[in-house]
Symmetry: C2
Subunit: 110 residues, 2 copies
DNA sequence: CAGATATATGCCGTTCGAGATATATATAGC
DNA sequence: GCTATATATATCTCGAACGGCATATATCTG
């Protein structure tokens, strides 16, 4: 989860993910399209790979990288628990503030 | 988007978000529950606030922080574009690899 | 085997984020 | 106004991350 988030938090890596959403690509192609140096791309792919966000398959000297949906699925599952928030919770903050003020009056604030 | 991801990429900040999912809390409470020093909590809240993930409302000397769903909603919308991936795409990689090999044979690789 | 191509890795310098401590600001109560 | 409490900010140090460059590794070609 954390690995996924930190991997995606880097703009270039996010771009790589977006690129691979359309179709798998070899390292060189990614470098060209994102105007990055090949070594950086390899490094970023390494991070993405460690996070399980991509996987490579060798074809001759090339390595074709493709997106792995699992971590994104996980992220989606995590967000699931927050989805209710943007339905109910009209203004839970206000509610709690009022509650605190009530308590304060009652207990003479400790 | 990037702000959201980098904010959530830090474990303590993610924990803060998870804490605030249940209910808004003042800084001190967050510090106690996560066993963090107050200054770090304030710092993290600053980052979360800049990312729009939380908002504060002052009550006396306290500041009650609450979750703001909007950035999470945005993240959810971004993920939406990837949801199709974990349905179809049984093995798009394999498919592309085969395609490349075919091309190679045809064109005599460049 | 030599040369070319594709990719990965190692090293360096710089920047950035996190923790720790001290201090500043605001508010409440006396 | 003085003191205590809650929070924010400033400063420091340290380690980790990123970019650039050189280089190693693997594979293909002739």
């Amino acid at each position: 989860m954390n690995a996924t988030l930190s991997a995606l938090a880097e703009p270039n890596r996010l771009q790589i993910v977006e690129l691979l959403r359309h179709r798998p690509l070899p390292v060189g192609q990614i470098a060209v399209r994102l105007k990055l140096n090949q070594p950086q791309v390899s490094k970023h792919l390494r991070v993405l790979s460690d996070a399980g966000l991509v996987e490579a398959r060798p074809v001759a000297q090339q390595r074709i990288y493709a997106l792995r949906p699992e971590p994104l699925k996980e992220l989606d599952a995590w967000l699931e628990r927050y989805r209710r928030l943007w339905d109910d919770q009209l203004d839970r903050l206000e509610e709690v503030v009022l509650e605190l003020k009530r308590k304060e009056k009652k207990n003479g604030h400790r």
